[in-house]
Subunit: 203 residues, 2 copies
DNA sequence: CAACGATGGCTAATGACATTAGCCTCCCAG
DNA sequence: CTGGGAGGCTAATGTCATTAGCCATCGTTG
């Protein structure tokens, strides 16, 4: 493996050539492979072929690393959602965005939960990514004529439903063998129905 | 404090009088006070006035303790939901159960997330508690004439929405100052609306 | 082209935890 | 009153995060 060769080379003095971005990218990959709970600085260092403390030259510590992976994942999710919404509107757009959201969570089970971390206000890229993600949802709602507090309520409802579903799904919380894809479609359809008469679901 | 006195007494040989239930109860209390992430065997032992390894006479280890707290919390939540549903039906019942669910999550921020752990099939009490919790939701749906796969879909939708909302809320994911109670009410109303025409939200 | 200083590796030390092993006392059953 | 299980304990081990401090490298600069 190239890693072992590189490690041997560095034993003679060569450098590993790490950067903060490389460390974050490897951490994100690792999280998806082994699970967020097993994302450890020790494991990241091993995968990068360096000793654990070397990582501190690139990230402040474990929590800062998680926060950076959060920023990365949030940016990725925002892009995925925006692409799904492009060229669609109303029910079509809602289902496309919902499916894209769930697909991202499935493809990146390790980093997905980190997308729910609140951005550090000092991390402008992270803040911007969060804004883009919420913006993708808000854009959906414009098709229903929603804005202001109503749009905030509807955004929260969509986020809660999507997040809750993929979390329960990933936790294995759906015991019954009943088709999960169908359940998800029903949930999204239910919300879409409500959007049509928001904010007075009664009418 | 009595704890210190008890500790001194035991230094002379007396026993602490722990039981698995006492340990689990203290762990649950601690989780709510300091957060699930800071629930540690070391902290539980300290609160009970014993050395850390002593806990192993009562629980198999940290993960087993978390699983037992999960069983406790699930049972509590099931009771809360059943009581909320009692004597109500349709929209009245849906809102009461939803409010009770959220209230439990607020009152027990540490143990609430553990209610989403899947029960160990060997832990019959835990399995029963999970069944009661799902049963409380299913009971709601009978008022809408739902059963079979439709009821499964609707149950998943309700659980996902409720779980997602309280998780985002607790994570501080709702940045805007807009009234969160109102948002929750809107979400529940939206789902209730969909239940009326389930499983074809189109109609 | 050589010296320099910042950069990016490293080892060593510390401290929190979980876990296991093994000891010793208490308390109850006989 | 006595023997043994139950329920405490200390000690040892291993993993991990974090900090301190060392040293080689490499780009820059005189």
């Amino acid at each position: 493996m190239a890693d072992a060769a590189a490690t041997r080379a560095r034993a003679r003095g060569a450098r590993a050539g790490l950067t903060p971005s490389l460390v974050v990218a490897e951490a994100a990959r690792l999280a998806d492979e082994v699970g967020l709970d097993r994302l450890t600085l020790a494991a990241v260092a091993q995968r990068l072929g360096v000793a654990l403390p070397s990582l501190y030259k690139h990230v402040r510590g474990l929590d800062a690393l998680l926060q950076k992976v959060s920023a990365l994942a949030t940016a990725e999710l925002a892009t995925v959602l925006a692409e799904a919404a492009a060229g669609r509107s109303r029910a079509d757009a809602v289902h496309a965005v919902a499916d894209a959201y769930r697909a991202y969570a499935h493809q990146h089970p390790g980093r997905y939960p980190l997308t729910q971390r609140v951005a550090d206000p000092a991390d402008l890229e992270h803040v911007a990514a969060s804004g883009r993600a919420v913006g993708a949802i808000l854009a959906l709602l414009r098709g229903y004529g929603l804005s202001g507090d109503d749009a905030v309520d509807a955004t929260r409802a969509l986020r809660a439903a999507l997040h809750g579903f993929v979390m329960l799904e990933h936790a294995g919380g759906f015991g019954m063998p009943t088709d999960v894809n169908r359940s998800f479609g029903q949930l999204v359809a239910a919300l879409e129905l409500a959007l049509r008469t928001w904010p007075s679901p009664e009418g």
